[in-house]
Every structure is written in C-alpha cells, then in structure tokens.
Amino acid sequence: MKKAAAATPASVIDLRFGQVGLLQVRLREVDAPAIKAELAARIASAPQFFQHTGVCLDLSALEHPPEVATLRGIVEAIRLAGMITVGVSDASPTADQLAPALDLPVLAGFRQLSRPPAQLVRAAKAAAQPAPEAVSEPEPEIAPPPPTSGLVHTQPVRSGQRVYARERDLIVTAAVGAGAEVMADGCVHVYGTLRGRAMAGVRGDTNARLFCQEFRAELVAIAGVFRVFETLPEELAGHPVQAWLEGEALRFSRFGV
C-alpha cells in the first residue's frame, strides 16, 4: 500500500497531501486597480491557461504588512480577472495573522508536504540513529526511492495530451503538438519539434532547464516563471533552443551559434 492515507474498502474519500497547480501571485505593491490592470493584460496572452485557476497570494515581497481591507480588494481584483484566491503563502511572516482574517488557509511550501510520509519517517529515523545499523535492517514501509533516470516518452505528445515526469527529468523523443503539455519536476528535453507548452521545475526547482531540438513553443515555464509566445522570435523559431532561469528572468538561447 503506497497510498498516503490508506482507504478502507468502505471509505468514500482519499486523504492525501498532493501537488496541485496554483498560480503564485507575488505582490510588489498593494494597489488593487494597478494589479487588476496588469493581471488583465498578462492573462490576455493566454486566457485558457488562467481561467478558474487557483491563486496563492505571496506577501513576502511587501515591505510593510498590508491592511486586511486592502487585501480584500486585491482578492476581488483577482476574482474579476477570472481566477480564484485559495490561500496565502507561508513565505511571509504576517501570513499567519492575515490569512484567517480573509478566511483563507496558509499554504506551506509544497516540497515538504508532498513528500510521502514514509520517507519522512525514514529521514527522521536516519537522523536519530547511527547510520550503518539503520541501513542493514530493511524497513518494510519504505517507499522506493524516486527513479533517477528520466521518464522517456517515445510517442508524439498530441494536442490535448499532457505528460508529467514527477521528481525527475522528462525526455520526449518525438514531437510535442500545439495544445499539448510536457511537464517535469526536473528538466524537459524534447528531441523533436516543440509546438505546445513546456514546463520545467514545476515544483519550484529554479535550476531546471528546457532543451528542445526545434523550438516553436506556445509557452515555456521554469519554476513558475513563464513566457507566452504569441509570435516566435525569429532568432529562436525552428532552432535548437535551451531555456533557463537567471534570477527571476527566463533566458533563451540557441545552440550552435
């Protein structure tokens, strides 16, 4: 049984801490009209991508803790943009006070929460005991370690399909069609034409990169920082390209030039 919270045959729900796709909105200012205007402009480039998306508010970039009323205005601005605020990120020290006032939960860093409990147990045991003995005694409940090689996908990824490599790289040896999505916690490699969307480091790994043989992507994201390509830059279109994060900025370069 590898389920996080084992269900009995009669149970009607499964409980698990899982990975869900949330848009992180980090506030730099608390000016609701300005936020609304900027959201509208940025969403216009990829409307379906944001429609009904859950939003996690990140207050950590603000110098002063905002007023509750101001935050309500911002939540409303986000709603008007077609998205739903579902929580406040724990990245800011004031989250614990502000979130309850907004009737929202505090959302903790996903990385720890999404790890299976057995691994946490093992980590704790390993820390508490001298290592050699702990290793020699097999732990029946230990989850297998995440695979180290990437997930290799040899079929074309067609429009409407999504392929996700959890806790590793994704290697696609065929084309990724327009309207298809390839995602990995690690790097994404496409040995074919990339016409759809590619997302690397989807659980926050800022070192993850995207590599593709023929770049025609609709959208590229790394650790949540994304760029939509309404028109393809001429210097990238059709070429082998890699993308990576430099601080907060997404960078692209062509191979072999």
Binding site: P156, V157, R158, S159, G160, A174, G177, A178, G179, A180
Partner: protein, 271 residues
Amino acid sequence: MTEIIVVTSGKGGVGKTTTSASLACGLARTGKRVAVIDFDIGLRNLDLIMGCERRVVYDFVNVINGDCTLKQALIKDKRIDTLFVLAASQTRDKDALTAEGVRKVLDELIADGFDFILCDSPAGIEKGAHLAMYYADRAVVVVNPEVSSVRDSDRILGLLASKTERAEKGGTKVREHLLLTRYSPTRVAAGEMLSIADVKDILGLDVIGVIPESPQVLSASNAGTPVIMMDESDAAAAYGDAVARLLGDESLPMRFIDEPKKGFFARVFGG
C-alpha cells in the same frame, strides 16, 4: 479476419462522409465484403452520399435497441453487391449509442464474415466520435490542408492512442493513416494552404492519399453516387489510389499534387 476502420477528423466538414463512401465502394469493388456504418446519429448523411436514402427502413439505433435484426437494417448497394450500408437514425440523439450496443453490432458483422467495417465518425470528440473509434483496428484521419484541421487531427490522433480499446487493453496500437483532402496545388503554391510536407511534418505520419479539391465531389453527392464511381474524375482516381494503398500497395506515386500546367492560351490570357 475482419478489419474495423474508422474514418475520423475532429473538425467538421472536412470530407469524412465523402471519404467513407468512396473507400467503402473502392474496397467492395475488389470483391471484399464491406459494411459502412454512419455514426453521425441525428445528422444522417452517409445514406444520401451512397444514394440509398429512400431505402432506409431501419437504422443503427434500431438494431442496437433490438427493434429489428441487423439483416433487416443493412441496405445492400445497387451497384456493388458486396457493399452494405447501415444508416444513422435521424430522429434520435447520440445518447442512443452505447459501447455494448456498438460492440454487439460489430460482433454480428464479424460473425457474418465481412472483410471490412468502415465507421463514418461524426465531427467533434464527444460520445459519437469516441464510439466510432473505440473498437477500430485502423484509422483514416481525414485532414484539410489548413491549420485548424491539422490541429484537430492531432487531437484525434492523441485520442486514438489513448481512448480506444486497443490503447486501453495495451495491445498493438491502432494503425493510423492520414488522408489529405480538398487539396489545391495552386493554393498551396500561393502559400494559402499547407503543403503535404507541412502536414506530414506537423502530424508525424505518412499520407495514404491526397484527394484534390474537385467540383465533381459535389455533383457526385447530389447524384447519390460516391465520387470514386465517377469516371474521368481526378478525385475518383485519387480515392482509387488510396484504396490500393489501404490494401497494402506501397509503390503507387501520389498524383494530382502538382500545379496544373497551363496551356498556351491560359498563359497568354491569364487563364
């Protein structure tokens, strides 16, 4: 061995029914026993193109519901005696189809010794289209040389690889073929349409036939004659080639894919 072939596309109006009718005739002309089924419940069309609309008594939904036997509902073609049509219901909606019902009809056709069963899919990716492809051994994906049609075909190819019985049971996958239709070499040359190479490249599949844009398609369907039966039509010859390739002839070169050479007068007077 019966082969079940779905003719599908995602996008509407690209030429699925025209193609189903001509492929069915073309296969049956070689002596194979062929049944062609209209899955477009509520928008019955195939019987018109096949010219048997006035002979429809019972339809596909009637057979599924047990209102009649399969034999009573199969309409024998007047031109080719190994060809049979199973019409769609015009009065029901797509919910009248069920997976078990479709399976039952297919099994009965298989038991009857048909060589080919062609399933003319409705447009879209909803229930009717899903059931038309679900039991297929092969798929002919009909595509027009334009971006939206190619995009929808890519979506359909994804469903063929994941939402069919073969995909779900993990057996050999559905054999996929592309059929490019309404192809106009002049418009391709003018850059108004995608070329064969573009379509092949985007979808990563080989093309089993290229059917030119042809006014005869419309006159044939008005006459209730599948266009493949029209002598001296380019579209008929192109469908004939596609049938041969479907039956395994890989040596045929593609025809009607180059811009027609203009004659002297056309060149002088701008034709």
